[in-house]
């Protein structure tokens, strides 16, 4: 019999998936209720999900167990107006000052809006070298799965769990089931990681990976640069997964090396030797195993109010009658009505009011470069508001060093300071009621970008193309 505190063995005997290897390395003990107590190597805090955790911690008279493994930033409610400070958005002041005060009181490193390292949690964690291959990183935010792009376990939690991690540096979790999504074949022109993950949601649905840890595998994934892998893993949560990851490889190691908080010298060499073991054994068994043929994926754009409501940009808004599942049919009909579209109309050509390039999904340097390539020498269409919001202050500074801000300015885009911005309508950047926004973010839910906002999700180049043409446009037709 297995000792009570042994980590769960793989379903295939001794062969393990990369997820199981990392999980086992963090396993403190098996709890009586069947959950595992796992150790948290890195805890990242943001202002909207930590204030109540600190308040309850204080009420219970508990301390922060490992402030040195904890980092805080300000991202969700910050103003993104150029030159902003902590007070620029009056409605955000309370949570921002609480974040700063709580971090200070507990000796937690804090990268506020005035710090050159500030940015969206999921953008700064890889960028700073805070997230590392094989580490377990927790944040009170669902898109923590982003850091899976480095081969880390990124687990998004609620505020009670933030409090639990602050107090104990551990989490009590059901071990996720394993799932593999294999991407084979070459991506066609204009197809990015964003298109692959949107297609995955479209093909398998938003509950496809419920309770699962996804491993993204296959030759197409190996060919993806690290920033694209971060985009892919970011949206794991949109298909219901607990987390998603890509096994680390030489691209990953090169990305991590020399990051501010990453190990260096002999420690880096030792780390790399261990990271090389982080791959699924050839005969490891996944509880769910599916595949996508990348050569069949076109640039994607969503037409509805869930990430699974998606199609190739050269396709049409579907006729709900075409869905065999009755519930899906009703949802699709409601979504099309909410979006102000008609069944059967071509996606290309739908006029847009706003183009938003930003968020933890697609606001890293390579994303802004892709958008700038389209914007260069063109003009934002009349009547369209176009925003570029770097995912972090380091991304903004790197982009400015390359002159991208000039390209965007010249083309009539707004060039703003780093934050979550128009992804979530919890700050000043809001889509007006009824307006239609094409966005590089991850959620097209009703009212997500503001009351009655209409959102179309797409890749950075597709959003830039829509900005300059004034309508949803097939990036492959932009010459």
């Amino acid at each position: 019999m297995m000792p009570e505190n042994a980590p769960v063995q793989s379903t295939s005997g001794t062969a393990l998936t990369v997820f199981e290897k990392i999980w086992n390395a963090h396993h403190v003990r098996r709890l009586d209720d069947g959950r595992d107590l796992v150790f948290v190597d890195r805890h990242v805090l943001q202002e909207t999900t930590s204030a109540q955790a600190f308040e309850r911690l204080a009420r219970a008279g508990r301390a922060v167990r490992h402030p040195e493994l904890t980092v805080a930033t300000q991202d969700h409610v910050v103003s993104t107006a150029p030159g902003r400070n902590e007070h620029s958005n009056p409605a955000g002041r309370e949570l921002l000052s609480l974040m700063r005060a709580n971090a200070h009181a507990h000796r937690i490193r804090h990268f506020g809006v005035d710090d050159p390292r500030q940015g969206i949690v999921h953008v700064i964690a890889p960028e700073l070298g805070l997230a590392l291959p094989g580490c377990l990183l927790v944040c009170g935010d669902s898109h923590t799965s982003t850091v899976g792009g480095l081969g880390a376990l990124g687990i998004g939690v609620g505020t009670s769990e933030v409090e639990h991690v602050l107090a104990t540096q551990t989490l009590a979790l059901n071990r996720p089931r394993t799932m593999r999504i294999t991407f084979e074949g070459h991506c066609g022109a204009g197809v990015t990681a964003k298109d692959l993950i949107l297609r995955t949601a479209g093909t398998f649905g938003i509950a496809a990976a419920q309770g699962c840890a996804i491993e993204y595998a296959g030759s197409a994934i190996r060919a993806l640069p690290v920033e694209a892998r971060l985009t892919l893993c970011n949206m794991s949560i949109e298909i219901g997964a607990r987390l998603g990851l890509v096994a680390p490889d030489d691209r990953t190691f090169a990305y991590v090396q020399d990051r501010e908080m990453a190990p260096s010298g002999a420690a880096f060499a030792q780390a790399m030797a261990e990271w090389r073991q982080l791959r699924s054994d050839p005969d490891a068994v996944f509880e769910r195993d599916v595949a996508i043929d990348c050569s069949l994926v076109a640039p994607q754009v969503t037409w509805g109010t869930s990430p699974q409501d998606v199609a190739g940009v050269d396709e049409r808004v579907p006729d709900p009658a075409g869905f065999s599942d009755a519930k899906r049919r009703d949802l699709a009909a409601a979504a099309i009505a909410y979006m102000g579209l008609e069944p059967g109309m071509p996606l290309a050509g739908i006029p847009i009011d706003i183009a938003f390039i930003g968020s933890c999904t697609n606001a890293r340097l390579s994303d802004l470069e892709a958008a700038a390539t389209v914007a260069r020498g063109r003009r934002v269409a009349p009547g369209v508001r176009a925003l570029v919001v770097p995912g972090s202050t380091p991304v903004r500074l790197a982009a400015e060093a390359k002159g991208l801000h000039h390209i965007f300015h010249d083309a009539g885009f707004e060039w703003r300071d780093a934050g979550c911005s128009m992804c979530v309508s919890i700050n000043e950047d809001i889509v007006p009621p009824g307006a239609r926004c094409i966005a590089t973010s991850n959620r097209n839910f009703e009212n997500r970008q503001g009351p009655r906002s209409r959102t179309h999700l797409a890749s950075p180049a597709m959003v830039a193309a829509a900005a300059v043409t004034g309508c949803v446009t097939d990036i492959r037709r932009m010459t």
Partner: protein
Amino acid sequence: MTPFTELEGVMAVMPVANINTDAIIPSPWLRFANADLGKGLFGSQRYTEDGRERPDFILNQPPFRSAKILLADENFGCGSSREAAVWALEQFGIRCVLAPSFGDIFYENAFRNGVLAGRIDAATFERLREAVRRHPDRPVVRVDLAARSVTAPDRTSYVLHVPAARAEALLRGEDEIAATLALEAEIAAYYAAVQVARPWLYPAAASRGDTV
């Protein structure tokens, strides 16, 4: 935490799948540390843009204004990790949500806050919905956690699926952090061991004290 044993009250039915956390508590209510989340529950559907109640929304109608139980279709609470979704339900007065399935993070958050997320079979969902529809004068349902049962207005009982350990913790009103802190020595031993085994992972530990 207040223990959860039995609950009898009006059950509101929202027969929709995939109700996400953004819908349960829309973003505008998350801007302040002490917002009235009960008021914000389903805010986008409950109020017009100028803040008036929409009479056609179920929670604006008597007797559902004082609902204690919510019945929804599958994948309730999907979407984000925002725990305020649970607080909003609880502050409104709903301490039990019944659905065929739940979003993972919502499910965890519910139990941590003393809210029962009870799984029911798809057939039970239909029967409960129908029973409440047939008793508009008294749409009252009774949930008995210890017995894992839910009783419809017509007195028919159905099975409630709640993992045993979860149910016991709720019945006792147990604080999860206290339970983990009881294992503090074991956690410290784990940390001491991995610091030696994986020093590259904990560089901050070496310079503790000057990391702020």
